[in-house]
């Protein structure tokens, strides 16, 4: 029962790789966007805010299909990237990472935005009177004080990314060794006669991974909060 086969391992490792890459690439973008949404009023702000949250409410298959239209080989962006930079998303693990990044993006942005909004602006003022430029204020005061939210967002985004199914399978299909993540592997195994035991093994693995992510985020958040309260 607990012998995990090489194919299953491949799916688990691919999920982890996709989750890590998606989270690490999406985090800086999410921080920049959360910052803009938390601190500035600008034209089109509510449209951008809504667009960021769209993957949360759209059927994942719709998001996946839109990604295929945009980033597929004949897609507007995908075609250009393939021709000019040699970056291909369609039916590659990179596409799975893109899909997971997009799907987990709202979960990243939200806690980061809330934690930036919670940063005491008076501390930022104090920093600037001590000679810190706006960038230095951001790097030495805002960012460290927003760290609990950033870490919480990253863990949540990562957990979402390793579990993503609908958009990924629509965009990059379900190719073992290339785009078959743990979710799509479970899906395939359920469709296969006698695949139940293997599916159950992967279900257990995914529960363990998700639990680990949640516990980690809790630990990080607690540690960071303690740090911020200055004790």
């Amino acid at each position: 029962m607990f012998e995990i086969s090489p194919t299953e391992w491949t799916a688990v490792l691919l999920s982890l790789k996709v989750g890590v890459v998606a989270t690490l690439l999406a985090t800086p973008i999410a921080i920049a966007l959360a910052w803009a949404l938390a601190r500035y009023e600008f034209w089109g702000k509510s449209v951008i805010d809504a667009t960021v949250h769209l993957p949360l409410v759209l059927p994942p298959v719709v998001t996946g299909y839109l990604l295929l239209l945009t980033f597929g080989k004949r897609g507007l962006v995908g075609g250009w990237l393939a021709d000019h930079l040699g970056i291909v998303f369609a039916f590659r693990w990179t596409g799975a990472a893109l899909a997971c990044g997009v799907m987990s993006f709202p979960l990243l942005v939200r806690p980061i935005r809330l934690s930036i909004e919670a940063v005491d602006r008076r501390l930022e003022q104090a920093a600037s009177t001590l000679g810190a430029s706006p960038w230095q204020v951001f790097a030495t005061v805002t960012l460290p004080l927003a760290l609990p939210g950033i870490l919480a967002g990253m863990v949540l985004g990562f957990a979402k990314a390793i579990g993503e199914f609908g958009a990924t399978i629509t965009f990059v299909s379900n190719i073992p060794g290339e785009t078959q993540t743990i979710s799509s592997a479970i899906y395939s195994l359920i469709q296969t006669p006698d695949g139940d035991t293997a599916a159950l093994r992967l279900v257990i693995v995914s529960i363990v991974m998700s639990m680990a992510a949640l516990v980690t985020s809790e630990v990080f958040a607690r540690r960071a909060t303690r740090r911020l309260h200055g004790n």
């Binding site: 920093a127 009177t129 001590l130 030495t140």
Partner: protein, 221 residues
């Protein structure tokens, strides 16, 4: 020398203030709502005057006729807030060192030791702001502002959030700073006794205007 000649509209309230002070400690006196904090935020550069000039030792920091507004972080004006505003994620040592790091100044261990002694904060260096008493926090905030080597130090009711005993504890430190630190100060307070002990020149504010300017004798008894 501090020269201020500014006007600013803030909702229904307007600040229109002009004075020049040569004093080592200029006291800004007035009831709450008289415009003291608006005025020193303008000196610090946190707020922009609608019209006017602010200069320190002949160097203009604001001059609306020339659209000049030096940014807060380039003014080299220290600010001690009523609520200390120490960085909660840094220990006392790193709070004190913050201004030096941001301005890329070289370390001056002699000055650090002198200030630690003068403010009696040497034993607090490894603590976090959350582990300090109100008076200790305010002393660290004073040290932090001075270690950024400002040319002018603004103190906005630094004793305002402390009880009488703590006030009596901090006042002597402030007098030592005045006599030994060699940095001119603008000291905001609504307490005439405090100003009598610290300030040489008084700007009395009433509803956003200068009601009196002179020595400590203009303070109400």
């Amino acid at each position: 020398m501090l020269h201020v000649e500014v006007s600013k509209q803030l909702g229904d309230f307007s600040v229109e203030v002009a004075f020049t002070s040569e004093g080592r400690v200029t006291g800004l006196f007035g009831a709450s709502g008289a415009g003291k904090t608006s005025l020193i935020s303008m000196i610090a550069g946190l707020q922009k005057p609608d019209r006017g000039v602010i200069s320190v030792d002949g160097e203009a920091l604001d001059d609306t006729t020339k659209s000049l507004h030096i940014a807060v972080h380039q003014r080299r004006i220290g600010y001690v807030f009523q609520d200390a505003r120490l960085f909660p994620h840094l220990d006392v040592r790193r709070n004190l060192d913050y201004g030096r790091r941001m301005n890329r100044l070289t370390r001056d261990p002699a000055q650090e030791t002198r200030l630690n002694d003068m403010l009696n904060i040497g034993h607090l260096l490894d603590r976090r702001p959350g582990q300090l008493s109100g008076g200790e926090r305010q002393r660290v905030a004073l040290g932090r502002a001075l270690l950024s080597r400002p040319r002018l130090l603004l103190l906005d009711e630094p004793l305002g959030s402390l009880d009488e005993d703590r006030k009596a504890e901090i006042l002597p430190y402030l007098m030592r700073l005045r006599d030994e630190a060699g940095v001119p100060m603008v000291y905001v307070s609504h307490d005439p006794d405090e100003l009598r002990q610290l300030a040489s020149h008084i700007v009395m504010l009433k509803r956003g205007r200068v009601a009196a300017f002179g020595g400590t004798e203009v303070l109400p008894t």
